[in-house]
C-alpha cells in the first residue's frame, strides 16, 4: 500500500478510535431528522414524493458544523503536538501527507453523506413506498453532495494547515464555509454584478442545479477546482515549515 493510503487509513480509523466520529454521525442524523420532518412544516406538508429537502439541509449542516469539526484537527493538531515531525520524517512525501489526511477526512464525511441514502431507500423503496420517486434528481443530488463534500473538506484542510490551533481552525472554517453557503441567499437579495459574483462562488447556488436534476459541467469543474486549489495551497503551507 502506498504511504498516502496508509496515512488515509490511519486518519480514518482515528476518527473511530475517538468519540468524534460517533458524536458527529449521531447528532447529524438527529439534526437532519428534525430539519427534514419538522422545519417549515416538514416533509408531509409538501405532499410530494421528493427528497429535495434532504439535499438542502445536509450540505448546510456539513458546512456549518460537520466539516469544520472533522477537518479542524487534521494538520493543526499534528503541528501543535509535534506528531507532524514524526510523520514527515518517515519516508513520505509532503503531498502524501496532505492527500492522505484529506482522503481520511473525506472518508468520514462521505460515510455520513452516503448514510443519508437511508432516507430515499426507506421511504420510497422498502419497507415503505410513499409514491413513485423521480430517480434522476436523487442521483444528481447525491453527485452534487459528494462534489460539495470534496471541496468543503479541502477548504477545511487548507485552513487547518495554516494554524496550530484547532479552535481557530474550526472558527475560520465555519466562517468561510458558512459564508460560501450564505452567499447564495445574499445573491437573491442583491442585484446586478454583485449577484452574479456571489452566485458564482456560492456553494449553495452551485448545488441548486444538482437538486433540480441538472448536471452542469461548469458546476462540476467549479467544485473540483476548489478542491485541487485548496489542496495545492495546503501543500505549500505544509512545505513552508522548511523555510520559515
Amino acid at each position: 500500500m502506498s504511504p498516502m493510503l496508509i496515512i488515509a487509513k490511519r486518519e480514518f480509523r482515528s476518527y473511530f478510535d475517538s468519540p468524534i466520529a460517533y458524536i458527529v454521525i449521531c447528532l447529524s442524523f438527529f439534526a437532519l431528522g428534525l430539519m427534514f420532518f419538522l422545519l417549515n412544516g416538514g416533509f408531509w406538508q409538501l405532499d410530494r414524493a421528493s427528497i429535495a429537502r434532504l439535499f438542502e439541509s445536509t450540505p448546510m449542516g456539513l458546512s456549518f458544523l460537520v466539516v469544520p469539526v472533522v477537518t479542524m484537527r487534521l494538520l493543526a493538531e499534528e503541528r501543535r503536538s509535534g506528531t507532524l515531525e514524526m510523520l514527515i520524517t518517515l519516508p513520505v512525501k509532503d503531498s502524501d501527507v496532505v492527500v492522505g489526511k484529506y482522503l481520511g477526512a473525506l472518508g468520514l464525511v462521505l460515510v455520513l453523506v452516503l448514510s443519508t441514502l437511508a432516507y430515499p431507500l426507506v421511504m420510497f423503496w422498502k419497507p415503505w413506498n410513499l409514491g413513485p420517486i423521480d430517480g434522476g434528481p436523487v442521483a444528481s443530488g447525491y453527485l452534487g453532495m459528494v462534489l460539495f463534500s470534496c471541496a468543503a473538506v479541502a477548504v477545511g484542510l487548507l485552513i487547518s494547515a495554516l494554524t496550530e490551533s484547532q479552535a481557530v481552525a474550526f472558527f475560520i472554517t465555519f466562517f468561510v464555509l458558512g459564508a460560501l453557503w450564505l452567499f447564495g441567499d445574499l445573491a437573491s437579495k442583491a442585484g446586478g454584478t454583485l449577484a452574479i459574483v456571489l452566485n458564482y462562488v456560492s456553494f449553495q447556488s452551485r448545488l441548486n442545479n444538482f437538486w433540480r436534476g441538472l448536471i452542469d459541467s461548469r458546476d462540476v469543474i467549479f467544485f473540483l477546482s476548489v478542491t485541487v486549489l485548496s489542496l495545492m495551497v495546503a501543500f505549500r503551507a505544509l512545505e513552508r515549515r522548511k523555510w520559515a
Binding site: 496508509i6 513520505v92 522548511k242 520559515a244
Partner: protein
Amino acid sequence: MATDVMIQANGLTKRFGVVRALDKVNFEVKRGEVVGFLGPNGAGKSTTMRILTCFISPSTGSATVNSHDVFDNPLEVRRSIGYLPQRAPLYTDMTVWEYLKFAAEIRGLDEASFKKRLKKVVEVCGLAQSLGKDISTLSHGYRQRVGLGQALIHDPPILILDEPTSDLDPNEKAEVLRYIKEIGKDRTILLSTHNLAEVEEACARAIIVSKGRVVADGPLDEIRGKTGRVRYVVTVDEQRAEAGNKPPAAAQAQEALQRLSGVKTVRELPTDEKAHKFELSGAQDSDIRAEIYRLAVAKGWTLLELRRDAQSLDAVFRDLTRGDEKLDRGANWTAADADDEEDTSNADEDEESDDDEDEEEEVDAKSKGKS
C-alpha cells in the same frame, strides 16, 4: 564502494527571520560511531537534527546522510535513518502495536519482516508488557521507548535521537542509555542531550554546539583537555588540626592555597561535612598534589581529601558555552564568579537589548508589509 562517512554537514546555516539559529556548522559522523551532540537549550541541536532528517531545510549549506543529499533525495535520507524527535510525539489514540505497525507499513516492511523486527524491537526496548496498551495511558518513559522502537523498526544504519533521555527518571535513563549502547554496536548514532553524564556513559565522541556554532568536536578526552586545565579537590577539617595548630578559617586556607605556585584559581565548594572544601585549577600536564600536601603538613591542617582529575566534561562544557548564558539571563545575571566581568557584560547587554528592539521593529515592519 560505500563511503565510511555516514553523516556529513557542510556549512549549515539556518536563519529564522533575523535570528541565526545555526551558523556554518560542519561535522562528520563515521560508520559505527556513537556521537553525543551537546549544547545548552537553544544552541541549535534540534535544528541541526531537523535539517538532517529533511524536516526543515538549511538557509545555506548542505548535508548528506548515507551519501544522499538532504535537498535532492529526502526520501532516501529518511529511509536510511531512524529518528526520535524531542519528547517523542506519538499518536496517543493508537496502541503501541498499532503505532509500530503504522511506522513499519509506511516504511514498506512486509508482514513477515515486520514480525521479525517487532520481536527484536520489543526485546531491545522492553515493550513486551505494553504492546496492547493505548499510548495515551503510557508514562513518558514508555513513550520514549515506543519512539525508540519506531526508530528501530526498519533496522536503519543511522539513528538520530533528539534528547532521548529528557524527562525520564534515573532508572529509565539508565535503561535507555543501556539500549543505546547495545544498539550502537553496529550502527551510527547521533544523540543530542544537555546532560553530560549521559554522553560520558554512552558516547566516545562529542560535538559541542553553542549559539549555533560548533565549539568543540572530538573524542571526549580531547575535549576534556581543551581548556588546558587540571582540577584538584582539597578538603580540610575545620574543627581539628594536627600538632597543636589551630584549625584554619576558610579564608586563610584559601589564601594559602592560592599562593602555591601553579595554582590558577581556588574556589570554595559547598560541603555537608564540618570541613572546608576547595576546588583548585592548575595547568594541564602539571601535578601539584605534593605541594598541597606539604602545605597542609607545614600548616598543621588535617587533610581529609586530596584528588586530581582531568577537568570534568561538565566544566569544559560550562567554559565553552558560558558566554551565551550571560547574554540570555539579562541584567539579573549574578553568578559568583562573574563579579569581575559584570561591568563589561552589562554594557554588552545594553547594546544587545537595543539591537533586539531594532530587530523587533524590523520584524513588525516586515509583517505589516506582508499583510
